[in-house]
Amino acid sequence: MATSTLARVWHSDLAWSFRTSKTALISSVLLAIMFAAAIFAPQLATQNPFNIAELELWNSELPPFWVEGGSRQFLLGTDVQARDVYSSILYGLRLSLIVGFASVILAAVIGISLGLLGGFLGGIVDAAIMRFADVLLSFPAILVALLVNGIARGILPPSQHQDAAIYVLILAIGLTNWVQYARTVRGSTMVERQKEYVQAARINGISGPGIMFNHIMPNVMGPVLVIATINLGMAVLTEATLSFLGVGMPATQPSLGTLIRIGNEYLFSGIWWVVIFPSAVLVALVLSVNLLGDWLRDALNPKLR
């Protein structure tokens, strides 16, 4: 059974499209490397950049090893606090991906639920959800995230700001990105709701939630997958932007965005490596996520097949 399922997946149109698309292959290999790097950061890193005790101040501002004055101990150099840039990137990547994934999941759960509810029930519920979504959409996402962030900081006592930062970020990004899911899911739900298999379920006394989750939801998830993939890139970027602006991850627990902000301050003193390497990783991450999302969208589009 397991082998036949595997075989079916391997022979499916999606798998075939994946195997023959260079873009999809390259970007997923890149992503796999970055995921592995993030997961195994403690093993791969040469030092723990969060641990102040490990930092030796005389190692600060060292260039990458191939530049004169560099050391093989610090492959990509160190920053002003003597943190190893290579290790910081591994840990920063980890944080960025955690925030990205968690906020995408949060946004997807909220968006799918509200979209299903609005599309299935219609009427006032639908109008209320969609008008609220419209209002949210009329603000730039970063502004809403800043707002959520500000409110959370206002509510929480200052002593907890650092520990809560990651949750606040997830919440802020998640709450700004659900609209897209809700709109897509609502549209598909309104189409599916009219289909005869849903009518058959109603005739057989299946309840509203039963129809929504067992019947309609599996049929509207295709586009959600595409949005989620593309949104992962967006979420990582939003996190980086917030952190760059100083309202994201604190300097003691740097994400990629925080690293870029810190590096940016020293860019003009010639310490280019502190900002260039995290930025390159961020670009590679977002680019490969988006390329994969684009491929997925095309592969799932029956018209282009």
Partner: protein
């Protein structure tokens, strides 16, 4: 007190359904437009005896599919009554009351949309049995699914497949298996063969006849195909713009059509036994149902229409063969036309 078997299984009377097509309130206020309603079903009466088949025929927009939806509770009637074995169902939603709705099932037109593409066939067929708790035990339920699959001409192994692995005709068989899984007595069939190829249509029609004989089913059959309806029905109702215009036994309605619209349909349906006959006659088209013509809705297309037809809606009263809604028939203005069977025999 009537014997329970004498009583029709389904009694529909004065059934009405109008849909609100009005623009949103703000638009109406600005444009000063009235609310708009379309009367999809406008006072339909019929009964179906146990074990018989009644078909509703008509062109698109005549309301025949809406009648099917109203009976199954998929849409709420604006008025009238639907009684199943004497129990009023007009105010009940789909699936309720369960012990009664279990006995009514439906087969749909589109074999591609009527099965959930993400579900395996066995789960699809088992759903009604699970929901109505006719087979609460999962093991027995699966056995029943296998039996049903073989009963409709598929194999038990097909239960593990997904709908897209089947052809249109096979999917319609799956749909039928699902519909009969709760051992219903009454089946609404909404154009079950119109999406199928001719040779497959014959298979499905034969299967439905066989089911009727073996399980004693009662059918309400919806179709636009007169020949299919002629094959499957005991009674036939012809609908036009939301109303029944003629209702008569199947054997008589095509042999001695009363209403001019029934005659028009019979004259214009392409027929393989009528090679190159002359069909050039001005017959017009079905008018917009939002603004139906006054009086008899059919009068603009009717060669027999007079002043009364344009002003006054005819009642649905007894005719030579059944019931008809036509002033000309009631006044005896229509020439009784030659029996069509004789006409066709000449070809």
């Amino acid at each position: 007190m009537m014997h329970p078997d004498d009583r029709p299984l389904l009694e529909v009377s004065g059934l009405r359904k109008s849909f609100d097509l009005s623009k949103p309130f703000i638009n109406r206020l600005i444009e000063r437009s009235e609310r708009q309603f379309v009367k999809a079903v406008d006072g339909v009466d019929f009964t179906i005896q146990r074990g018989q088949t009644l078909s509703l025929v008509g062109e698109s927009g005549c309301g025949k599919s809406t009648v099917a939806k109203l009976i199954m509770g998929l849409s709420r009637p604006s008025g009238g009554s639907i009684r199943f074995e004497g129990t009023e169902l007009a105010d009940q939603p789909a699936g309720k009351p369960a012990q009664l709705r279990r006995r009514m099932q439906m087969i749909f037109q589109d074999p591609y949309a009527s099965l959930n593409p993400r579900w395996r066939v066995a789960r699809i067929i088992a759903e009604p049995m699970k929901s109505f708790a006719t087979h609460p035990d999962p093991g027995k339920r699966r056995k029943e699914v296998d039996r049903l699959l073989e009963f409709v001409g598929l194999s038990a192994a097909d239960g593990d497949k997904f709908p897209h692995e089947f052809s249109g005709g096979q999917r319609q068989r799956i749909s039928i298996a699902r519909a009969i899984s709760t051992k219903p007595e009454f089946l609404v069939c909404d154009e079950p063969t119109s999406a199928l190829d001719v040779s497959v249509q014959a298979q499905i029609l034969n299967l439905m006849r066989e089911l009727q004989r073996e399980l004693g089913l009662t059918y309400l059959f919806i179709s636009h195909d007169l020949a299919v309806v002629n094959y499957i029905s005991d009674w036939i109702g012809v609908m036009y713009l939301g109303r029944l215009v003629e209702l008569a036994p199947a054997a008589e309605i095509f042999a001695k059509p009363q209403h001019p619209y029934t005659r028009l349909l019979l004259d214009t349906v392409p027929d393989i036994s009528m090679v190159n006959r002359d069909m050039d006659r001005p017959a017009g088209e079905v008018p917009n149902p939002i603004t139906p013509p006054p009086g008899c809705h059919f009068h603009p297309r009717c060669v027999h229409a007079d002043a009364r037809c344009k002003a006054q809606m005819p009642d649905f009263i007894a005719s030579a063969t059944g019931h008809a809604r036509c002033h000309a028939v009631q006044e005896g203005r229509l020439s009784p036309i030659a029996e069509r069977a004789a006409l066709r025999g000449a070809v």
